[in-house]
Symmetry: C2
Subunit: 330 residues, 2 copies
Amino acid sequence: MSQYDVLCIGNAIVDIIAQCDEGFLETNGIIKAAMNLIDAQRAELLYSRMGPALEASGGSAGNTAAGVASFGGRAAYFGKVSKDHLGDIYTHDIRAQGVAFDTRPLDGEPPTARSMIFVTPDGERSMNTYLGACVELGPEDVEPSKVEGAAVTYFEGYLWDPPRAKEAIRQAAAIAHAAGREVSMTLSDSFCVDRYREEFLELMRSGTVDIVFANSHEIKSLYQTTSFDEALAAIRKDCRLAAVTRSEKGSVIVRGDETVAIEATAIRELVDTTGAGDLYAAGFLHGYTQGLDLKTCGNLGSLAAGLVIQQVGPRPRQNLRQEAMKAGLL
Amino acid sequence: MSQYDVLCIGNAIVDIIAQCDEGFLETNGIIKAAMNLIDAQRAELLYSRMGPALEASGGSAGNTAAGVASFGGRAAYFGKVSKDHLGDIYTHDIRAQGVAFDTRPLDGEPPTARSMIFVTPDGERSMNTYLGACVELGPEDVEPSKVEGAAVTYFEGYLWDPPRAKEAIRQAAAIAHAAGREVSMTLSDSFCVDRYREEFLELMRSGTVDIVFANSHEIKSLYQTTSFDEALAAIRKDCRLAAVTRSEKGSVIVRGDETVAIEATAIRELVDTTGAGDLYAAGFLHGYTQGLDLKTCGNLGSLAAGLVIQQVGPRPRQNLRQEAMKAGLL
């Protein structure tokens, strides 16, 4: 028996979300749809140019943990905040969602991480992340009992950006596998893949990671190809199980020779794509850790992603368990 | 010529917004749909019981100022925040919306005000406000040149809760009238009306206030009657111009013998009523200060209120000027 269904590890970030037009991205040198890393000085500059905003707890793996808990799964989270107001908000929100979160907060500088997210009229989000306290996440933050007790330990590729988080991940993966558990990752962002391509491939090929989440841009970046089919064929060989999202085309799940195509759910209005991939992973991993078939896992992912993109912010306000039951998936 | 169309004065509050079920309100002794005043200790207790939340700049008159600016009007705001993170967020958001905001922030305790807003499945919001730095707003915060330069000075009845804000209002009203300007207020909340009934009536009957905004509950509370028609007849006599909102029944505007009925705009989904009255006032006052007829003023109010209740948070993310042009109102 596992104590947790999914343990998520990631950069603990508070999102600051505003609307902007396309010209704003260009004027300010923001790469559209990407996660742009910024320093404290640029954070201040961009904030001074940013429109009225909403604040919401985010962070890719944090959103996934919150999603798993909203589906009724047992979730835990490792991530580093600072002892400041944003850190308090982050801690409140993830615990209030029912996620076990006990990572020791940083006492002093740097402050809790924040990402300024600009949402263009097409609903696409462009992130500008100041990593703050996340740079202090290290192996000492791995709680071995939680890793041993989690059916799946899931982490974000973004963790290769801060200096010592990757050590934490390798340690957690070793503990998980020694306990007979599975390890999963998301490739996070095509530019992130570009920064750490060889290391990500090594994680997959060495068996450090069993289950990979990615979108079509990320797997094409991973294999440096413009062909989705070529990238899909490659990832099928490199990991045991992969779920690849394709925006409005749905997703495709590959496991050995098996291929399962999943449709995107119908949406009424695309408002903000923030959290789409994170919530897909939440739905999928919830189904997976409940022993459901891959088709249902994918449909749970689509359901959660479809809900989050119809609202502002990275975590759906609906109870995902109720939504899944309404949709006949649970 | 006026320098500003609308100067708004109010409690500067950051909203902390979460969903809850009906039972939560009862268990925690929260009066539904009302503004419940709380102290720091109860704020801590309620936050510990609150679900995952979003943070957004709010405050009734602050929302109205932001709405006027979003319509393209020239807006200014007086309100007291503290020099802390929530105060920075508040200041950023209202200035980023184009509102002139220069009230000197409080250096030290108490912290910036926050309101925990619980939204039930019916979309109704129940507020729990810790006034924090707002208790320090006083006559010294009135900037005479802004009052003299504003076509309408608008304030919230909620300002009768902190100890010295009412002095600021009486002073601002005197300056405004001496400059030939108009003064407007919202009755804010039926329980607030209950606390300050005689003073609010005196503000109207003495001519300190020219234009009154209220909803049907508030005017019934003001005149201690269960009859809407009776209350409407009474307010018609007590102020020069009144706009009374009636939720899905729209609103009614009375000025002397004149009566203008306004329909509510059709909505797709009621998500969160927070800000409905504030945005109605924004639309109305924008039209009014542009010299538009009362029908159009009311329709602009309905448009803005209809937009804000279809999203989480107290200020619509849409550009209201564009929305009004699409609707043929500007």
